[in-house]
């Protein structure tokens, strides 16, 4: 006697269109492409910086190409989205208990947003933007 187990077919390349929740998950996954590509840009920048002033100026000029500007603009959106979803998840990933009670989730996420803002402004000040 043979038994036929239920095998639910999951289309491997289109499964995330089945539910908006999956699409949100995938939209966050896609940000890793921009972060990865931007990391490569950082390594190239380090190479230019180590090769002297002329190479660094060339790197800064190369950043001004329309393709580079478009990429960095998309990378900015992707990394901000990645950061926001990361901080939103902290309240689920790191619940904090004080005594009997759990600290409210939005306080945990909110603290991360505040730290993010402070650190970002700190980096901008160190970089001489203000």
């Amino acid at each position: 006697m043979s038994r036929k187990p239920l095998v639910r077919e999951v289309p491997p390349t289109t499964w995330y269109f089945r539910h908006p929740r999956y699409l949100r998950y995938m939209s966050r996954e896609v940000t890793s492409i921009f972060v990865g590509a931007y990391c490569v840009l950082l390594v190239v920048g380090l190479q230019s910086l180590s090769s002297g002033e002329a190479a660094w100026e060339d790197f800064l000029m190369a950043l001004r190409s329309p393709a580079s500007i478009a990429f960095q603009f998309l990378a900015l959106i992707a990394t901000v989205y990645h950061a926001a979803t990361w901080f939103n998840a902290t309240q689920k990933a790191m619940p904090l208990q004080i005594g009997e009670d759990f600290v409210a989730g939005n306080i945990i996420s909110g603290a991360h947003y505040v730290a993010w803002a402070v650190l970002s402004v700190g980096v901008l000040i160190i970089a001489g933007v203000f």
Binding site: T13, I33, V35, C39, V43, Q47, L49, T79, G128
Partner: protein, 113 residues
């Protein structure tokens, strides 16, 4: 008890995710400003070179670049899988080796400064 190599992958992944979330957006903003013609003073050759010449500066730059590389390599591996690529061993090998090579090159460049 069986030992797992997973913590070795996971620790830099989590650390990298945190570094990426807190610092990469503002770094992208800085290079985007430079790309749009408003080069922040800190991205001028003398300032940035002086920062990278300092031991602590080297450590900070290496930490940000290496952890971000490792974390994005791991996330890209998952992204490939989610889009239906099932050659996970190949994908993982290429991405992790790429992250390690990128980190080593970064270290060499930093030590040259």
């Amino acid at each position: 008890m069986a030992k797992s190599h997973k913590p070795v992958v996971w620790f830099p992944f989590a650390a990298g995710g945190t570094v990426i979330a807190f610092f990469i957006p503002v770094i992208v903003l800085l290079t985007l400003m430079a790309a749009l013609g408003h080069v922040p003073a800190g991205l001028g050759y003398d300032k940035l070179h002086a920062f990278a010449a300092n031991g602590l500066g080297k450590l900070i730059i290496f930490g940000v670049v290496a952890l971000s590389l490792w974390s994005s390599a791991h996330r890209l591996r998952c992204t490939f899988y989610d889009f239906g690529a099932r050659a996970d061993t190949l994908v993982a090998t290429v991405l992790y080796v790429g992250a390690i090579v990128g980190s080593l090159f970064s270290a060499v460049y930093l030590l040259r400064i």
